[in-house]
Amino acid sequence: MYVAVKGGETAIENAHQLLAEERRGDPDVAEIELTQIDEQLGLAVDRVMTEGSLYDRRLAALAVKQARGDVIEAVFLLRAYRTTLPRFGASEPIDTARMEIRRRISATFKDLPGGQILGPTFDYTHRLIDFDLAEPSDDAPEAPLAETPVNDAMPRVNELLESEGLLERAAPPEDDPEPFDLTREPMSFPAGRDQHLQNLARGDEGFLLALGYSTQRGFGRNHPFAGEIRMGEVAVEFVPEELGFAVELGDITVSECQMVTQFTGSKEAPPQFTQGYGLAFGFCERKTMAMALVDRALRAEEFGEAVEYPAQDSEFVLYHSDNVEAQGFVSHLKLPHYVDFQAELTLVRRLRADYEQAHRQEAAE
């Protein structure tokens, strides 16, 4: 009896049980713990927190575990949880100039106040599979401690340039209005830089990486230099209404990238460099660099550059950067579409009948 669409409920239930079984894998292998994910797959946790827009290492690690390591699925889990959380208020803006630096490099100056600090980077590693890692080891690797502590004064490269007027000033817009909040308001155009940056910060790393890369290859080139990249801990402060002054809630790890890009100038203003900006939770350096490239590309209109390429196109970038939205709509193609398909099938059959009839008539004439 017409079984094609019956039995959905049991099928779903069984599929979920199978998923749980596969997620756990071989029960003879020890179950992975959240602290292990957090500690040893920390960069996955960082990415999930960044694109999931929620700074909570334990929850992000749990999402990674539940998603079986599928980062985009984990981002989705975190987002769907985040949206249910009550809001107490907005923190004070974090001040990355006061960051406790773990990494800080500049590609624009050989040396600068505070120096270059490589930190825990993959850069300059040779990408050779380390077979020693295949088996757990009792010897925990230990890095040597520097003779002198990191300099307290770590001025931003961009501020050095800004003070000379060589770089456009990164100042908030007039009256410093409340920034747009994409998590509460639908996208709206023309979009300001606040909306751009929030969207890019939540955006898919792969998508932004490809777009940023496309600008380097000429699809909207803007001559970028990595002015400064820094990573470390910053304090999050909050002003409770009943106190009226800021209290520190704790530290979070962030990565920041400030690109120094193409100069502009006009009759009224002397030439100066422009900026692109990237910021992410945790150690997501690649993401912040891609974000900074795309941020700058999206400012094309602001600087009177022709908007010709995908990375410069605000609607194109903003509407397609969110991987939770994108994966949802792509994956919905798996849902049944047989009514639409039947409608198309009926139409195509009719068109073919029309066609055959017309040709028969032609042949007869």
């Binding site: 009896m1 669409v5 949206t83 709206s188 579409h337 639409d340 409608a343 068109l351």
Partner: protein
């Protein structure tokens, strides 16, 4: 609290979520958008769509609308492709049964809120029913003009020439309009609207319907509406009037000749049958004693050598 766990209440201790999942602030925001949508029929109202625990594209807009209008005394029906049993309909119905503890039904006539994807039930809806559509792409002009900024202007100025040209080009090229589903309509003689990907067979049911029709697009963050008894005109030309799909044979299960039929492939020899896409409509007809050619067992029947439509 007593040992017996209380079922879902406003702040629920059991599921940890508010009644019908969304918090009351969000529901209020969505209700305001719905009111605006009802006041301006066919106009797409932007709303602060939330991430839902189901993926975007899987009915998050419809779910948010339903969650904002549903009450404890409502009777909910969820269909996908016309059927209550398709996997996603099952999943959404289970979502509301869990988060709102709401009574559900498969009977169209008993439901007060019907959430649907891709179909309008065959049975005529009443004034005390609300039909909630899940909408993937709310913008009827999207495939003619991908830019939202441009589309908004077209709607604002009511300059819909581009759509007329598209339909005309269809006729010039193929002899007929080649849109089979998501067939554009004009609502209350003002806005051109995407009816969601329902087959055009269902379009006439929207016109002057006594039921309130609400459309939710979660990913695209838009809500729109057709208030009861509103004119909904499927776009056409005087010499090429709008028409709907017809089938050469009746439903193989209930013998209906006036319903939208799904094609079911029975074997690899070209054997096939047609059956109502609206499963509740079909079941009710069979309960009333109507039968079709394949009422007993379609696979068996086809093997008996009774050639199905080839």
């Amino acid at each position: 609290m007593s040992a017996r766990k209380r079922k879902t209440r406003h702040d629920d201790g059991e599921t940890g979520y508010n009644f019908a999942y969304l918090d009351e602030q969000t529901k209020r925001m969505i209700r305001r958008c719905i009111l605006k949508a009802v006041a301006v029929p066919g106009y797409q109202v932007p709303f602060g769509s939330r991430e839902m625990p189901l993926p975007y594209g899987w009915g998050t807009g419809g779910i948010q609308v339903t969650a904002s209008i549903i009450g404890r005394n409502d009777m909910l029906k969820v269909i996908d492709q016309g059927s209550d049993d398709t996997t996603n309909a099952v999943s959404i119905r289970a979502f509301f049964a869990k988060t709102a503890d709401v009574a559900t039904t498969e009977e169209t006539s008993k439901a007060s809120v019907i959430q649907t994807r891709h179909r309008i039930p065959e049975r005529k809806l009443r004034a005390d029913q609300i039909l909630v559509y899940q909408v993937p792409i709310p913008e009827p002009l999207r495939f003619l003009e991908p830019r939202e900024t441009e589309c908004r202007k077209v709607h604002a100025y009511s300059e819909y020439g581009v759509m007329q040209v598209k339909l005309y080009e269809d006729i010039a090229r193929y002899g007929r309009i080649t849109t089979a589903y998501a067939y554009p309509v004009r609502v209350d003689d003002r806005y051109i609207m995407d009816p969601s990907p329902i087959p055009k067979f269902d379009n006439p049911k929207m016109d002057n319907s006594p039921a309130l029709q609400l459309f939710g697009a979660g990913r695209e963050k838009r809500i729109y509406a057709i208030p009861p008894y509103t004119t909904v005109h499927s776009l056409d030309f005087e010499d090429h009037p709008f028409d709907v799909e017809t089938w050469d044979e009746p439903c193989g299960l209930c013998g209906a000749t006036d319903s939208f039929l799904d094609e079911i492939i029975l074997d690899d020899q070209g054997g096939r049958m047609f059956a109502c896409s609206d499963s509740n409509f079909c079941t009710a007809r069979r309960a009333d004693g109507h039968t079709g050619q394949f009422a007993e067992d379609p696979i068996e029947e086809s093997r008996k050598g009774e050639p199905a439509h080839v």
